[in-house]
Amino acid sequence: MKNKLSHLATPYVIWMALFVVAPIIMVVIYAFSAADGGFTLANFSKIGTYAVVFSRSFKLALIATVICLLIGYPVSYMMSKEGPRFQRIAMVLIMLPMWMNFLLRTYSWMSILENNGLLNQLFQKIGLISLYNSIFGTNIEYFRMINTSGAVVLGMVYNYLPFMILPIYSVIVKLDHSLIEAARDLGANNVNVFRRVILPLSLPGVLSGITMVFVPSVSTFAISKMLGGGTEMLLGDLIEQQFLGGAYNPQVGAAISLVMMVIVVICMVVMNRFGEGEEQAVML
């Protein structure tokens, strides 16, 4: 009976081999081939020059992930303590923004953060800018917010925060309350209950949340182009530029993608060591 059921997966296994594994093999082949088709390692030799881009991307993605965690964990925790009706509505409200295209949401941030944007106009109206000028003796007309790394991080946090909240929430809400009561009965105070019971048990959710925020952040190109103004290149921009941008060089692009992939996988494997063995990503 069991064996019969396992045949149900066969079509998908073939599908995966074709459209998941084969494309990645293509990337590997490209990464090791020269423009005329022969084998070469030259594509990787250029990677050294892009070290700055690598470190910048990983730094910004890390900051965004940490901020998402700092915001997302408390929100999930508090949501789980509200009544069931509120929880359901809150879940819907967190998923709902994804129905507004992410490019459009990011574009909206552009008009908020511009030098002449809504936020600066607001600051001007309430006199914050003149206050700032009189305190620091400067003569600025606006706060520079767009085209900075801060704006890029904001864009990442904004777009990927739901991916942090959802998995953490779905783990916390399923926690066995008798465990918490048991801990209390054994004399643990609030802090200890959280630290010794809730936090360790919610770790799988945290880990998959981190993955789901960190990976898209490290590889984004639209956000950095729109909010970062193209002055600080990120890995996504670099790859996009090799494939579809100005500097057409798919071999180097494949090499960069491969290196990024390997680094990300190593990060994830190391991180999952802290998790519990086979526990996999939890989404909903």
């Binding site: 079509p11 507004m100 494939f243």
Partner: protein
């Protein structure tokens, strides 16, 4: 323990929601704006909603998005559910390997997934074409198509591939929670394994399937990066259309369509939630009334509207089938032409006019720059018929044998093109091209933000307006600014001179002179007064002037570039005849006048150019200022200061690319 959230905690949650919804609210508010700005409120209007339904490009992309998302979700939900059950029934070791592979699309960066699929499809198509040719050669019963291209099919495959893991991820936990003995019990009682599946497994995992399908659909709708690499030239999703626009101005029509989509989903969710809440209340009441009469109990037990979900599901399925047949019948055998041009580079009513006149369907996409277009063509992702590259790119494409010679017999309107724009260096015998527009590059500045009129390229490199300068985001134009300033030949192949120009740019960038590197984003930045100075094309300056009268344009004294953009047909284009019909149509005087009026680039059509001032007066009942006409179609005196870009040798192009990437770092 429960419900001990303090006011402060609640406030924090509320703030997070404000953060999530503020930009969305803004988008919704500005969809009702009478003006076209996203920051200045000009009164309430429903005009953008009206225009939306007349905008074929947006409506088509919405349709593609919905269709691909629906199809991908349905297929992925079926495949994912079966796969999850299959995985569940496997031995631990095998399952572990397969789940790891299954997680790849989620763990992998989207851009890598997109790129990998693009490479894979292109390689597969190449293999296929050899195979099909071989099959067609050895037998004559049937003929295989030798040419496959990226399009709706590949887009769908990509969406299914990244959707299935989400379905599996939400179905698997439900399977694990299920009591393993249930299936055995059912089969002991005489169920076949098929019956066991339908009667036991499916009801247990239903919530997982539903949430998996919802997640998959949401991901599909929101996806941009993977679609960008796999959609090819004939289909664009809404996200791709928006991306094309974010470079210039996003028309509030996009706000309008997004508001409609958002509102629909909100409504659906509210309805289902109200239903659930009502059911819950009924349940509670029933529990409170244990001694109620059987009739009453039956009334409570009957779930209200229990047919609604089924009706919805059947309705959705019917809509889906209808959509598919409509697409299939609409596209069957109808002539099409796939065009790639630049953003805001055509009066879109011309597309409708052409479609009405000839019955040929136009798929219109835009690229960001000549270099981006070149990459698109080289990678095989851009499978167009007509492209509109600039001069230097044309000669490069001709050199590499990527263009098809035109049959000028099919393009009688070519005779209307002024002799000035024929046989130019990029196409000396004029065998490949029909000019589309021409113009100059110069500096655009905001007169209220600079001390004195600008005359020299110097401002692009000096500290005077540091942080307020916008530089080109394409290597050729950016380097040209530096080369002109340094007094070098703009077509130089001397590595030392190029290095000097690069150092100048890099140094200025490091000193913080550039606010950002832009292409069409320059519109929003200069119109909104967010930057003081930017180098760009004359025609675009005139478009910006309509929205900000403080802007001025100058062709710097050191000289500048003048360019011709021309229509060409790609080698082996599948729709060459339609392509030539399009080129002929656009080269006509009427379309040229309409285009000039809409995009403000000068026309190479002699008659159109000369009659434009009169045309303008007739349309707007005011005289076209001579200064404006001079900027649009500069006199020979100005052109004498300007140079055409020529095609560069391959090793210099590589140098350009390397320098450009280095500048970005």
């Amino acid at each position: 323990m429960k419900r001990n959230n303090t006011v402060l905690n609640r406030l924090f949650t509320v703030l997070v929601f404000v953060f999530l919804y503020a930009p969305i609210l803004l988008l919704i508010i500005f969809s009702f704006n009478a003006g076209s700005s996203n920051t200045v409120w000009k009164g309430f209007s429903l005009g953008w909603y009206r225009e939306l339904f007349n905008d074929r490009i947006i409506m088509r992309s919405v349709y593609t998005t919905l269709l691909v998302s629906l199809l991908a979700t349905v297929i992925a939900t079926f495949a994912g559910t079966f796969a999850a059950i299959g995985f569940y029934a496997m031995r631990r070791r095998k399952r572990h390997i397969l789940t790891t592979v299954n997680n790849i699309p989620m763990m992998n960066a989207e851009i890598v997934t997109g790129v990998a699929m693009c490479l894979f499809f292109v390689a597969f198509f190449a293999l296929w074409s050899d195979f099909a040719a071989w099959v067609n050669g050895i037998q004559t019963f049937f003929e295989l198509p030798t040419r496959l291209t990226l399009g709706f099919g590949t887009l769908l495959i990509a969406h299914i591939t990244f959707n299935i893991p989400y379905v599996i991820l939400s179905v698997s936990p439900k399977l694990r929670q299920m009591d393993k003995n249930l299936v055995d019990a059912a089969m002991d009682l005489g169920c076949t394994w098929m019956q066991a599946f339908w009667k036991v497994i499916l009801p247990e995992i239903k919530p997982g399937i539903i949430s998996g399908a919802l997640t998959a659909f949401t991901m599909s709708i929101d996806d941009f990066i993977i679609s960008y690499f796999t959609a090819g030239s004939s289909s664009s999703t809404l996200a791709m259309t928006i991306y094309g626009m974010t470079k210039k101005r996003v028309t509030p029509e996009i706000n309008a369509i997004s508001t409609i989509l958002f509102g629909t989903v909100l409504l659906l969710l509210v309805i289902t939630n109200i239903r659930e809440i009502r059911q819950e209340k009924l349940e509670q009441r029933r529990q409170k009334l244990p001694t109620a009469s059987p009739a009453e109990a039956a009334q409570y037990a009957r779930r209200p509207n229990s047919r609604l979900p089924k009706i919805l599901a059947v309705g959705a399925a019917a809509a889906l089938i209808l959509c598919t047949t409509v697409v299939a019948s609409r596209n069957a055998g109808k002539p099409v032409v796939n065009i790639c041009s630049w953003g805001e580079y055509i009066d879109e009513s011309l597309i409708d006019q052409f479609e009405a006149e000839t019955g040929i369907t136009v798929n219109y996409q835009t690229a960001e720059s000549n270099e981006a277009l070149y990459s698109l063509l080289k990678s095989g992702a851009g499978d167009y018929d007509v492209i509109v590259p600039s001069d230097y790119m044309i000669s490069q494409l001709i050199e590499e044998g990527m263009l098809e010679e035109l049959d000028y017999g099919n393009i009688p309107n070519f005779d209307l093109i002024s002799d000035r724009f024929k046989n130019l260096p990029y196409d000396p015998d004029n065998r490949y091209t029909v000019p589309y527009t021409w113009g100059t590059v110069g500096i655009i500045y905001n007169t209220t933000m600079v001390e004195e009129p600008i005359t020299s390229w110097e401002v692009m490199f000096s500290d005077e307006y540091a942080g307020n300068v916008l530089m080109f985001r394409n290597s050729r134009d950016a380097m040209a600014c530096a080369l002109f300033y340094l007094g070098y030949d703009v077509n130089t192949t001397d590595e030392g001179e190029l290095r000097d120009a690069f150092d100048l740019l890099k140094d200025a960038k490091n000193r913080g002179v550039y606010q950002s590197f832009v292409m069409d984003e320059i519109y929003g930045k200069l119109e909104g007064g967010n930057a003081a100075i930017g180098a760009y094309y004359a025609g675009d300056y005139l478009s910006m002037l309509e929205n900000n009268p403080d802007l001025a344009f100058v062709v710097p004294e050191e000289g500048s570039n003048w360019f011709v953009d021309a229509m060409c047909v790609l080698k082996d284009a599948p729709h060459k005849e339609e392509a030539e019909a399009w080129i002929n149509f656009i080269a006509g005087t009427g379309p040229n006048l309409a285009n000039m009026d809409y995009i403000w680039y000068a026309s190479p059509n002699e008659e159109a150019l000369e009659s434009y001032p009169a045309y303008y007066e007739e349309c707007y009942e005011e005289e076209l200022e001579p200064e404006i006409f001079e900027i649009m179609a500069p006199s020979q005196e100005t052109l004498d200061r300007c140079e055409l870009y020529l095609s560069l040798p391959a090793e210099i192009r590589t140098l350009y690319n390397d320098l450009w990437t280095e500048l970005g770092i």
